[in-house]
Every structure is written in C-alpha cells, then in structure tokens.
C-alpha cells in the first residue's frame, strides 16, 4: 500500500488544558530509568536501610521477645527524633541517594542535549519551567521513595506497634521535620544532579561529576580539618552541610560546632547557583552551531 492510499486524516479530538503539563516528562523519565538493568537491581537494594530501620521500630516495641539484645543495640533502638535523624543523615543513606541520582539524574538533560531533543520539547506548548519540573520530578519520585515515604511510614508504624498516641504527643512536630528534611535533601540532590547534567552531552561524564564533586568536597574538608582544626571548614563538605541541617531539623545536637544556619546558607547558595546554571544552559535552540 502506498502512502497516498493510506491517506492523512485530521484528528477530531480536543486539546486538554493540562494543570500539570510536565507530567508526561516525569512519567516517561521514570519509565526510561526503570528500563536500565542496573537500576532495576540497585533501586530495591536502596530500600534495605528503610527495612532495617522499620524492623528496628518493631523490635523496640518487643524487646522482651529479643532477650539477646544488649547495650548499644538497646540504646540504638530508643525510638525518638534521633532515630529518624540517624536514618536520614547517616553517610550511607546519603551515599545511596547519591547513587540514585547518578543512575536517574545524570542522563535526564545530558541525553536531551546529546540527541538535540530540547527543540522537540520547546516546539510544544511547554515552558522552561515545565521542562525543569518534569525532569526534577523524576528524581524527586525516586528520592521520596527512600526518604519521605519511609520516614512517614516509620512514624505511623511506631504508633501502630506501640498501640498508643504517646509518641505522637511527645513529638508532634516530627512529621513536619520528616517532610521538611526530605524536601531539602531531595531538592538539593535534584538540582545538584540536574545542573551537572545540563553541562555535558556525555552522561558518563556527568555521572563522574556528580560522584566526584560530592566526594571531593568531603576530601577537601578532611584535608582542611587536619590543617586548620576548625569546624568552619565543614562548610566545604556537601555531606557535612546536609548532616548539619538535618540534625537541626530533627532537633538534635549538630555534629559540627558551628551554627546550622551557615550550612543552610551554603545549601541555599548551591540551590541558587544550580538554578542559574540550568537557566543558562538549557535553551530551546542552540544559537551558535
């Protein structure tokens, strides 16, 4: 059958005025991320800490059934905001988040740059804001699964396992802390990885940058600490700043002897800088070819 015989027919439907025009970008981003074999394997592994901490909450309410538990373990199983802080800000958990943004965030914009697809997006009735929201929401989706959702589940399960509202009445602000810190850490990793993704067409290079800058900041911090012996040098470490702000949000003593405000300002500065990079690097057309 020739093309002419098949013929062209007009579409008689109506366009939707979508409240969330960025949603298809998010949906396809999630779908494409799950298509990666390695991610399919690593993502379920990232839920293991949540399972471990949830088990801890269960055990804390049934200590009499676990008589072999002693000393430090019992102390660890004191369920209070510190327990939540430990889950959210431990180095291993931040490392898992980093790995997730490497897998799902590194290619989000760099692939569009590599395959010239930005012009396909922006020839649609989309604004830059929609494009960024759609891409950011992909990372937010995966990070919320290991931050916000487990955090709220821990809180609810603590109430369920204890069979009373005592925990809630003691720490009524804790759900807000979970939501607040989840937003900060997710927002940070999203903008951090997206801005780096907009810098190169090579997703592997972006992955190296995401990983390298995070750990380099930590190495620089360790070098400076041994040299200057000041807590202020912790401000150069991305990990330390996230932990510092996290400790404050969960009402715990901050790990470094400086005001959490400084760390918050550093993170805010990174937010602003990443936003600036994204705005300047993502254009509908490459002007100079």
């Amino acid at each position: 059958m020739t093309i002419k015989e098949k013929g062209y027919s007009h579409w008689d439907g109506e366009f939707l005025i979508k409240k969330f025009p960025w949603w298809p970008i998010t949906r396809y981003g999630i779908k494409l991320t799950f298509q990666r074999r390695f991610f399919k394997f690593t993502f379920p592994m990232s839920l293991l800490p949540a399972v471990f901490f949830l088990t801890g909450i269960y055990v804390s309410e049934r200590l009499e059934d676990f008589p072999f538990l002693r000393g430090e373990t019992i102390q660890f199983l004191q369920i209070n905001p510190g327990y939540f802080k430990t889950y959210f800000t431990q180095g291993f958990m931040l490392f898992i988040m980093l790995m997730i943004v490497i897998f799902c965030g590194s290619s989000l914009i760099s692939d569009d740059l590599k395959h010239n697809s930005l012009q396909l997006y922006f020839s649609r009735p989309l604004k830059k804001k929609d494009y960024f929201l759609g891409k950011t929401a992909v990372i937010v989706f995966f990070l919320f699964i290991i931050t916000l959702i487990p955090g709220l589940v821990f809180f609810i399960m603590k109430l369920v396992f204890s069979g009373s509202l005592k925990f809630f009445l003691s720490y009524p602000w804790l759900p807000l802390s979970i939501i607040g810190y989840s937003l900060i850490v997710t927002g940070f990793f999203s903008l951090y990885s997206l801005s780096l993704s907009s810098l190169s067409k090579n997703r592997r290079l972006v992955a190296i940058l995401i990983f390298g800058i995070y750990f380099l900041s930590d190495i620089v911090y360790l070098i400076f600490r041994s040299e200057f012996r000041s807590h202020y040098v912790s401000l150069v470490s991305l990990r330390a700043n996230l932990q510092q702000v996290g400790a404050h949000i969960f009402g715990q003593k901050t790990p470094y002897d400086i005001s959490w405000i400084f760390s918050f300002l550093v993170l805010l500065g990174i937010f602003v800088f990443a936003g600036f990079v994204l705005k300047s690097k993502v254009k509908g057309v490459e002007i100079v070819k």
Partner: protein, 302 residues
C-alpha cells in the same frame, strides 16, 4: 493569512541575522530559500517563539509571536533540521509522548501516533528502538512527530535531507498531500530547489538577513526573460554591452550563453548589439527560467 510579520530585526550579539523582514504568506505550501546564514532558521525560530525579535512583530495563526508562543506551538508542528530523538523509546512511544506534550489526551495521542507512523511508512518498525533507526527512518519520524497533533501549520526544516531518492519522493508526496488536500499550511526551508519548485507555489527568498524576494514562483520567474544562445566570434565586447544594458549573462559548460533579459526591454536590441560587434548568433531560443535561475539572480550567486 496564517503568517504575518512586519519589520523583524534580530541579532546574535553583533551579527545581524534578520534585518527588517516583513512577510504576509498565503495558504498552501511556501518555500523558504536562502544561502547558508541567510536567516532562514532564525526566522523559523522566531515564528515558533524560540527567539524573540529585537524589533518588529507579527502574528502566526492569529497569535502574537512575542507573547502568545505557547498558543502558537499548540497549533504548529515543527520538523527540525538536525537529527533529534529521545533515546530508549520506540517510535510509537516517542510520537505519542510528543503528542501528549502538545496537549493531546494520553489515549488519543497513542492512537494518533499509530496513524501518523502508518502515514509516513514506519508501520513495520514502529516498535523498534529509535537508536536502531537509519537516518532516512529518523527523517520520517521527525516528519511524523511534527503533525501528530494535527497542526494547522507545519514548519519543515530541510525535510528531505539524508533521504534516498525513493524516500525523498515519498516525503515530497506527503508534503503535497497535506498542503494541497488537507488544508495544512506548510513552510518548507530547504536548499534543494527542485523540492521547493515541486511542492510550493509561493516562495520567500532571504539573503544576508534581508528579504530578497517573495511571491508566486511563476510570477517571480517573469522578472527576467531567459534566452539561450550560441555565439561565434569575439564575445568580449558583445557581453560587455549586454551587461551594460542591465542584462545578466552566464556561460554553461556546453558553451551556451544564458541571457537574463529585462522584460521591459526590446529583445531586438540583442541582435542589434550582435550586429554591431560582428557576432554570429547561431542559436537563439527563449527558455524557461527555473527556480535555480531565479535564486541565482536574486541572491547573486551561481
């Protein structure tokens, strides 16, 4: 009129890309011609709202190009010149995805994606990963995504580049089909002049950022009469005198002289000058001006 622009100026830094371009385009297929750097792609990008003009303004499908870009893009399709796709998707997902981004409901975008992929001849390979597509298939796919949302106006940037002769003629057939029978206006930017001549009745020629000519191709061709002649004798003085009469002369590889003669002048002058210069005119024929001749004449290149 679906495209009306007035006095458009645009610069990339100090480089002026468009200077005072005004257009008022009719329905049907319109060719956009010009040498490299003439401002064709810049003009399309301004019409799509990718770039905002420094000066001037206009309307596309009745929407202002400066502040109603999202509305324009909902009803306009765009086929970019460069290879562009989204890795990891097959053709159906890719096309329906872009339909959804245009505002189509999800189910309808999927249904429509199948239809347009059939239309461009990709039905057999619509479930194949795009990374395995040949350049010709990618070209068809770009064409399909441009009208998945059934636009009223389509911008095609070099639609036949990278296609084999068969693929090229099929794409040209599709362009003629949608522009002549389906009431979709098409603006084609291309370097391949025979493609424009085949598909368009109206043409816009840009040169160095300025409008060099616009109008019906048949009317524009009448700017000059074209005569072909074979000459014997010392041609130098003869050609100089013809050029002095605002006439353009070109010599082909076969030794035929093509003379573009202003239609308001009497062609008997050619014979008079030939007699004066003692030249023998051994062959003298009125010829049809092609779009290539017109382009060379207007732009000033061969």
């Amino acid at each position: 009129m679906s495209i009306e622009i007035k006095d458009i100026h645009f610069s990339y830094g100090k480089v002026k890309a468009l200077e005072g371009v005004s257009l008022d385009l009719p329905q049907g297929a319109v060719g956009l011609l010009g040498p490299n750097g003439a401002g064709k792609s810049t003009l399309i990008r301004i019409l799509l709202g990718f770039l905002s003009p420094d000066k001037g303004g206009g309307r596309v499908l009745g929407y202002n190009i400066k502040d109603e870009q999202p509305k324009i893009r909902r009803y306009v399709g765009y086929m970019p010149e460069d290879d562009c796709f989204i890795p990891g998707l097959d053709a159906v997902s890719f096309t329906s995805y872009l339909g959804e981004l245009s505002g189509m409901p999800r189910q309808e975008a999927m249904k429509r994606a199948h239809e347009v992929l059939y239309y461009v001849g990709l039905e057999e390979s619509r479930y194949r990963n795009l990374e395995t597509y040949s350049s010709g298939m990618k070209q068809r796919l770009k064409f399909a995504q441009a009208f998945v949302h059934d636009p009223k106006l389509i911008f095609l940037d070099e639609p036949t580049s990278g296609l084999d002769p068969n693929g090229r003629s099929e794409i040209l057939e599709l362009i003629m089909d949608i522009s002549s029978k389906k009431d979709i206006q098409v603006l084609i930017s291309s370097h391949i002049l025979p493609d424009i001549e085949l598909t368009c009745k109206y043409v816009v020629i840009l040169n160095k950022g300025k409008l060099a000519a616009q109008g019906n191709i048949s009317e524009l061709k009448e700017i000059r009469d074209l005569y072909e002649m074979k000459i014997k004798g010392e041609v130098g003085g003869f050609l100089r005198k013809l050029k002095a009469m605002k006439c353009k002369v070109e010599e082909t590889e076969e030794g035929i002289f093509k003379v573009y003669w202003p239609p308001d002048q009497d062609r008997q002058e050619i014979f008079r000058v030939a007699a004066e210069e003692k030249i023998q005119l051994r062959h003298f024929v009125k010829s049809e001006t092609s779009l290539e001749d017109l382009f060379a004449e207007v732009v000033g290149v061969d």
